[in-house]
Amino acid sequence: MDLSQTDHLKAYGIAYMALSRGLEIDWLLNYRGGSFMLDAHDFITTECLVRGVAFIRESAAVAASVYAEVQREDNNMDVVRLEKAPRVAVYVPPGFQPWDDAVTLALDYAEIKYDKLWDDEVLDGKLADYDWLHLHHEDFTGQYGKFYASFAGAAWYQAQVAQLEQEARKRGFRKVAELKKAVARAIARYIGAGGFMFAMCSATDTFDIALAAENTDICDAIYDGDPPDPDFQRRLDFSKTLAFTGFTVEKNPLRYEYSDIDEPPSDMLGVQNPETDYFTLFEFSAKFDPVPTMLTQNHVNVIKGFMGQTTGFRKNLIKTSVTILAEKQGTEQVKYLHGNYGRGTFTYYGGHDPEDYQHAVGNPPTDLSLHKNSPGYRLILNNILFPAARKKQQKT
C-alpha cells in the first residue's frame, strides 16, 4: 500500500472483513508501504471495487516471488499472518459529546465493527470479551477534562459532570475521581491479562496519572468538593503507570493541562506552526521487531503533526521499557509509543485528530472520505489489526 493505493483506510476494513469471514491474511510488512496478501475471492475483489480500494490480482508464481522478496535476508521486510478479526471495543460515554473521536471516525469509515463500552461495562468485567480497547479524549483523573475555566457554564459540561457524579454514586464512589481510578485499574488489569489498549489524546497521560494517583487526591475543590492532598506529588506511585514516570501533576485547577507529560504544553500550542509541524516514524527491523514494525506501517515516514489536549509526550518522562515509535525530530516531543504491560500491550498516540490540526470543542467531525490516504489515521488502523497477528514461536 504505497502511494498508488486509492484508499488506505478502507483497505484495513477489507482486511478486517476478510478476517471476519474466516480468511487468513498475510501482512507484508514494509512491502510497498505495508501490504496485505490474501487469496483472490470474488467477494473480496468486488468489495475492494465497491469501497474504492486498489488491489492487484497476481498469479501464484508472482505471489511466490513477492513472498521471496519479502523474506530475503537483506530486505527489511517480513510476513505476519493475520488469523482472526479482533473484537474491538471503544470506551466512549453515552450521549452527545461536543468533539469527535479519531478512532471511531476511522473505524466507521473503514467499516470495522466495534462496540461501545463505558464505566459500568468496564467495572462489570465486560472487557474480557474484547481483544482490543480504544480510549480517546477521556479524563481518568476525575477533572472533567479540565474544561472548567472555559466551559463551566456550558450545558454539555454541566450535563457531563452530573452524569459522571450520578454514575459514581451509583457504583458506591463518593467522587468521580475514585470511579475513574477504579476504571483505569480495571483497564490496566485487562491489559495485564493479555489485552491490547490503544489510547489517544488526553486518555494517554490521564490514564497513567490516575494509576499513579491511586492513593492520593489530586483534584481541586472545584472538581470534587474538597481540596487536593497537599502532598499528592510525593505520593504518586510511578510503579503503577504504563508509560510515564517522574512526571509532575499540574496543581492549577484552571490550567488546561494535567501534568508536564504533554509536550508542547496546551498553553504553548499557539506558537506551533502547522507548516513545520511534522513527526517522523522510526524504522524497525521487520524480522526482529515485528510488533513496532506493524504499528509503523505507512506509505510515508514523515507525517504532519496535529494538536490535542495532549499533543505529544515529553521524552525524558517515558519509561525506558517503552518503545518510541515516532517523534518530532529535534525536539523533546514523542508522538507515538508502544509498550508491554503484563501479557498485553499498550500504544499511546498523541493529538486529537490527525487531519484537523487544531480540533476545537464544537468543531464538526472530520470527513474521512476527503482523507482516504491519511498517514496519520493509518497509524490508528495498524493498531486494530495488530491483535489479529499470530504470535511467532520464540526460539529456544
Partner: protein, 549 residues
C-alpha cells in the same frame, strides 16, 4: 489553612471550640458539617447541617447557607432537599425557585427543573424569554426536551395558558416535531386572537425547514382564519409553493433516466397550478402574480411540455416583475430556452441578448445567456462564432457555466476542424432533441455513426442515441445502444465509463433489473476505477444492496 491541608481533625477541634462560644452560629455549624463530611463522617456531618438549620429555621438565608455548603461538596441532591425543607420551614412555597431549578438541571432532573422554571414563570409572567433561555440550556438533549414537554403539558392540562403553549410550541420546534408544534400553534393563534398571524409565522418557519406538509396545512388555516389583508398574498403564495413542493415529492414517475410524462404530470401538479392561477386573479399585476406566473411557466415548460402556454406565462412575468429584476431576467432566460424548444432560435437569441444587455442581470444569469447564444450558434452550424462566445465564459473558471462552456468548446474544437459535416449533422440532431423530436433525432444520429465511423464524435452520437431512447421509455433500445458503444468503441472512446454508468441506470430505473444494474456498476468500477463516476457507482451499488448510505 487546615482545611486546605486536609488536616480535618484539627479543623473539627477548632470549629467545635468556636461553637462552644457561639452555639447559634449557623455558619460554624455548616462549616463543621462540611469538614466532618470530608473527613468521612457523613452522619455527623448531616447532624451538623441540621443543627445549622435549627439555629434559625424561619430564615431563608439559613437554608441558602446550608444548601450552598452541600453544593460545594457536590451533594447536589441533598442541597435541593434543603431548599425544599426551606419552603416548608418558612411557609413560603415559592422560595428558592431559581436555585432549585439550577440544582435540579445540574443533577439531570429535568422534570424537576422544568417544574421550578414554570413556578418562576407563574410568579413572573413577563419573564417568558428568560425562562425559555434557561430551559434552552438543557433542552439540547432529547431526554431533557421530552421531560420538559411532559411537565409543561401536565401543567397546562386543559387550560389555555398562552405562555405555556408558547413554551410547548418552541420545544416541539426545537425537536423538529412540526406536527406537534402545529397543534399547539393553532391553540396559540385562537387564544391570542392572532387571526392566523401565529399560524402564518409558523408556516414560514416550517417551510424553511422543508416540512412542507405541515407548512401547507398551517398556511391553509392561516388563510381561512382569515389572515389580515396585507399578509394574505404572502400566505397564499407560500401555500401554493408548499403544495407544489409536496406534489414534486409525490412525483414517483421521475427517474434519473426519464422525466415524468406530461400525461401524468398535468394532473399531478394541477393543484399547485390552480392555486397560482387564483393568486394571479386575486392579485393581478403584483409581485405575487409575477411569481405565480413564473411557477406556472416553469411547470408548463418542464413538466407539461406546453411550450406555447409557457411563453404566455413567462411574458406575464416579464411584464409584471417590475421591482424584481432577477425574476424578470430568470423569466427571460427561461423564455429563451422555451423558444429553443419551439425551434425558434431567432426569438430565443433575442431573449438571451436582452439578458446579456441587462445592467441588473446577475453574473450567473449573464453567463447563462452568453452560453445559450453560443449553443444557438452551434445548432446553426456557426461553430467559430459559438467557440468565440463560449471562450468568453471560460475566462472565469469559477463561473457556474464555465464547465458547460468548456465541455461544448472542447467538443467543437475536436470536431469542427476534422469532420465539420458530421458535426453539422450532429448539432442538427441535438437541436431536434432539444425540441423533443427524439424520433427524428435518433435516425440523424445513427446516420452520422454510419457515415462517419472514424469521426471523434461517433461515440458521443451513440451516447446521445441511448439517452434519447431512455428518455422516450425505450429502455431495451437504449441498453443496446450503450452496449454497442461499449463493444465497438472500447479502444477509442473516452465515454466508456459514462456509457457503463448510463447502462447501469437504465437497468436500475428503466428495466428494473437490480442484479444487472449492480453488475454493470461493478464493471464500471473494475474497468474505470478512476472515473469521475466511480463514487456515484459505489453509492448506487450500496443502495441496491440495501445498505444504509
Amino acid at each position: 489553612m487546615w482545611m486546605q491541608l486536609k488536616r480535618y481533625d484539627q479543623t473539627i477541634e477548632l470549629l467545635r471550640s468556636r461553637l462552644a462560644r457561639a452555639p447559634s452560629d449557623p455558619n460554624l455549624h455548616a462549616m463543621l458539617g462540611s469538614v466532618l463530611y470530608r473527613a468521612g463522617r457523613e452522619k455527623d456531618a448531616a447532624a451538623e447541617w441540621d443543627s445549622a438549620i435549627a439555629t434559625n429555621p424561619a430564615n431563608p438565608g439559613t437554608y441558602r447557607l446550608v444548601a450552598a455548603v452541600l453544593a460545594e461538596n457536590r451533594l447536589l441532591d441533598r442541597a435541593a432537599e434543603v431548599y425544599r425543607r426551606g419552603r416548608k420551614g418558612t411557609g413560603d412555597g415559592d422560595l428558592f425557585t431559581l436555585e432549585l431549578a439550577q440544582l435540579l438541571a445540574s443533577t439531570m432532573n429535568y422534570s424537576g427543573a422544568t417544574t421550578e422554571y414554570l413556578r418562576w414563570l407563574s410568579m413572573n409572567p413577563a419573564q417568558l424569554s428568560f425562562v425559555q433561555s434557561r430551559l434552552a440550556q438543557m433542552t439540547g438533549r432529547d431526554d431533557a426536551r421530552t421531560a420538559a414537554t411532559e411537565v409543561i403539558r401536565g401543567a397546562l392540562g386543559d387550560r389555555g395558558d398562552l405562555s405555556l403553549l408558547q413554551l410547548l410550541a418552541w420545544l416541539a420546534m426545537e425537536g423538529k416535531k412540526f406536527g406537534e408544534a402545529f397543534d399547539v400553534e393553532r391553540k396559540i393563534d385562537a387564544l391570542s386572537g392572532a387571526h392566523g398571524n401565529e399560524l402564518f409565522q409558523f408556516a414560514v418557519r416550517a417551510a424553511g425547514e422543508k416540512a412542507y406538509a405541515v407548512a401547507a396545512r398551517a398556511y391553509q388555516e392561516a388563510i381561512g382564519a382569515p389572515l389580515s389583508a396585507d399578509r394574505m398574498p404572502y400566505a397564499r403564495y407560500g401555500y401554493a409553493a408548499a403544495v407544489g413542493e409536496l406534489q414534486a415529492d409525490a412525483d414517483t414517475f421521475a427517474s434519473p433516466v426519464r422525466g415524468t410524462p406530461a400525461t401524468e404530470a398535468v394532473p399531478l401538479y394541477g393543484g399547485a397550478v390552480r392555486l397560482f392561477q387564483k393568486i394571479i386573479e386575486d392579485y393581478p399585476h403584483t409581485q405575487f402574480s409575477a411569481k405565480s406566473w413564473y411557477q406556472i411557466g416553469l411547470l408548463q415548460s418542464e413538466k407539461f411540455g406546453d411550450r406555447e402556454g409557457a411563453v404566455i406565462s413567462l411574458r406575464h412575468v416579464i411584464e409584471e416583475a417590475g421591482p424584481l429584476p432577477s425574476l424578470r431576467n430568470d423569466a427571460t432566460l427561461m423564455m429563451g430556452k422555451v423558444h429553443i424548444a419551439r425551434g425558434d432560435t431567432a426569438k430565443a437569441a433575442e431573449c438571451f441578448r436582452t439578458v446579456v444587455a441587462a445592467p441588473d442581470a446577475l453574473p450567473d444569469a449573464h453567463d447563462e445567456a452568453v452560453f445559450r447564444l453560443g449553443e444557438i450558434d452551434y445548432f446553426a452550424g456557426r461553430f467559430d462564432s459559438a467557440m468565440q462566445k463560449l471562450g468568453g465564459i471560460t475566462v472565469n473558471l469559477k463561473a457556474d457555466y464555465a464547465n458547460d462552456a468548456l465541455r461544448l468548446g472542447a467538443f467543437l474544437q475536436e470536431n469542427a476542424g476534422t469532420v465539420p459535416e458530421a458535426l453539422r449533422q450532429f448539432s442538427a440532431a441535438e437541436f431536434l432533441a432539444r425540441q423533443g423530436k427524439n424520433t427524428e433525432a435518433v435516425p440523424v444520429l445513427l446516420s452520422v455513426i454510419r457515415s462517419y465511423p472514424q469521426a471523434p464524435l461517433v461515440d458521443d452520437a451513440l451516447m446521445e442515441v441511448g439517452a434519447l431512447q431512455a428518455s422516450a421509455g425505450l429502455f431495451r433500445e437504449a441498453a443496446a445502444s450503450y452496449e454497442r458503444l461499449l463493444a465497438e468503441f472500447r479502444e477509442s472512446s473516452i465515454e466508456l465509463d459514462r456509457a457503463e454508468f448510463n447502462l447501469a441506470e437504465v437497468y436500475q430505473y428503466g428495466t428494473h433489473e437490480p442484479a444487472r444494474a449492480q453488475a454493470t456498476y461493478e464493471r464500471l468500477l473494475a474497468d474505470h476505477p478512476k472515473s469521475i463516476l466511480a463514487g456515484r457507482a459505489r453509492q448506487r451499488i450500496r443502495q441496491l444492496r440495501g445498505e444504509s448510505l
